[in-house]
Subunit: 229 residues, 2 copies
Amino acid sequence: MQIYSRTEKSAKELADILSVKYTTSVNEIDENADIYFVAINDSAVAKVLPQINFNNKLVVHCSGSLPLSAIEKYSKNIGVFYPLQTFSKKREIDFSEIPVFIEANSTKNEKFLLEIAVQISRSVSVINSDKRKMLHISAVFACNFVNHFYTIAAEILKSNDIPFEVLKPLILETAQKVQEIQPEKAQTGPAVRFDENIISAHLQALNDFDEYRQLYMSVSKSIFNHYKK
Amino acid sequence: MQIYSRTEKSAKELADILSVKYTTSVNEIDENADIYFVAINDSAVAKVLPQINFNNKLVVHCSGSLPLSAIEKYSKNIGVFYPLQTFSKKREIDFSEIPVFIEANSTKNEKFLLEIAVQISRSVSVINSDKRKMLHISAVFACNFVNHFYTIAAEILKSNDIPFEVLKPLILETAQKVQEIQPEKAQTGPAVRFDENIISAHLQALNDFDEYRQLYMSVSKSIFNHYKK
């Protein structure tokens, strides 16, 4: 029906794809919608939402970590619509494979959200705010932190004039492996073998990368702790 | 020509696939081979190799971190054949996509190894021992440490009765993304947005997982440091 963004370019881009109108002014947000999706930074929610009159229509945020209660001041009908995926504007993603997690303040609102969610995803479930936060934390480990380790690997390679290309098959196989095998059972490498010779050689070789040496030690220790059990 | 392993089951399994003989006794290792591949733990190399008479034939180890010089005592012809991948017995892998890194103590031995490597892989390059070690370290970050973060994510989910299944599309997309986009540019999540509200909420929620809380802090700080530059 309508897209709002404070940035005209962003508003127009999405509105054009959906063939709907757009605005960059909160005062011009259409008051006749059945549902409002709030897809903004968690910290912006408390700043932007008080400016909008939702007429107690269903207001839904899309955040992993914000509790449902964070938006209870803004409408009598509230919910959460949390798609568990990493989004970059340049990547097209098959939405039907993205798990969507739903929460709402009434059975009626929950049912409405479930009906919308199953239109776009094959995996939809109801989850409460506490569990959603833990889900988000697990996603931070499995995606954001993982990607940072790709970045560290790329940096180590670059400083040795080795192209990042060589790691791509390994990265893909590591992710594909845990689609079939539990990650705990898929673990390989010097730390899980308690191979102290290799580990100390690696720590020495990371002399120029103090921060990464610290991370190497912490994560190796965590692997030790996990497998000595 | 022949497989040696100290474990009969392992020796037989591989020998049967290759239709060759096998042995579990170092004394019975055939002395007429052109090349010997040593695919054992780094720490076992110095224990096992002195027991074998290689007649100065080409002896090749397959380790990321052992320097070429680690086997110079055992033959006048030595080399390294390092396939960069994570191997588990249960997973079948397309070897043609695995980058293979070669090193040898003579041009002749290097050429021989290159000729063998291109029979099984489409990506073969010569690399020295120091660079191979850095390559191995980058693989530890991009594979072993990444997989440990999958394990941590799985544990956090399990303690909240959420199936690991829900993370699989995210894990796959995170790996697929960096096949096309540089990991540095693919980064998402609270740390790269410097979203301190979410981070402190996550740290609090990880109260029952002291070790993972420490890791969450260290990796988030490393992400800060990287993106504030």
